[in-house]
């Protein structure tokens, strides 16, 4: 680049009037090895910026593990509780309505018969006991005579 232009840019640079592109040109010129002797004193300034640019963060960081979120646990618990309550309540209601009726008429008839037979058996057994009362009465009458 022409020396004239560099000198001009340098002037502007110290007034803070250069653009980023012009500063890049200056940077390029002063870090090359073709700097005019009378401008050599500015080399360290641009050298310093170039050097500062090379520095970097060299530590490896350990990011803390994300804590497990317990935020949704109460919600889940309450949902389970609600479902549980609903189911048990429903079941209880159902058992109140259930009178032990049979839907199939044949089965119903059979079951009724069974029940009646059972009752008949008990009746027979108990009336059998009453026969003894008859003998008791007969003997009692004989004694009275």
């Amino acid at each position: 680049m022409e020396l004239n232009k560099i000198e001009q840019l340098l002037e502007l640079y110290f007034e803070g009037e250069t653009t980023l592109e012009q500063e890049a040109q200056l940077q390029e010129y002063f870090t090359s090895d073709k700097v005019a002797p009378h401008l050599a004193e500015y080399v360290p300034i641009f050298g310093a910026f170039a050097k500062a640019k090379e520095e970097g963060f060299n530590r490896t960081i350990v990011l803390p593990e994300t804590k497990r979120s317990w935020r949704w646990v109460p919600v889940a618990a309450s949902i389970i509780l609600c479902v549980g309550l609903f189911l048990t309540f429903n079941q209880r209601q159902a058992s109140e309505h259930d009178l032990g009726t049979y839907k199939d008429p044949d089965v119903a008839a059979l079951k009724t018969k069974q029940a009646l037979f059972m009752m008949g058996n008990f009746m027979n057994k108990s009336t059998g006991q009453l026969d003894k009362l008859d003998t008791f009465e007969e003997t009692a009458n004989e004694i009275k005579k």
Binding site: E15, K51, E55, F57
Partner: protein, 169 residues
Amino acid sequence: MNQKEFLAQVTPIQDRLYRLAKRLLVSEDEAQDATQEILIKLWSNRMKIKKLRSIEAFAVTMTKNYCYDKLKAKSSSNLQLVHSNYEDQHYNTVKTSENNDSVNWVLELMKELPEQQRLILHMRDVEQYSNSEIAKELDLNETAVRVTLSRARKTIREQLLKKHNYGIK
């Protein structure tokens, strides 16, 4: 955002954050600490970051504020910490050695600048932020940024020339 995505977003800017922290805090160790702190803060705020347009501007602001807090805390305590970063350097020729010395000298001069000037010079000449970006970041107008920048550059030049001519004039 999982760890991988987070690192992909943060890796390109972490060097910038480090350099900014170092410019303000001067000490390398403190700058590393600060950067680590900022990255972890960003990680724990990753839900908010997702909604931001530029994670970089946000991180730069965070770093700047963090460093100012550190500096404030340091100046209010009685202890004054002096940090010198010694570096190993290979001198190939006399010329490069001379240049390297002057380069380091310029870096030392930058440390002497007032905070605001140092920060603006760094953002502009090292990180190549535009004046409007700097103005927005520091809550200044662009003219103020330009004036401060010019002042910082001139101070560096003057001090450098003074050193160059030492013993000659």
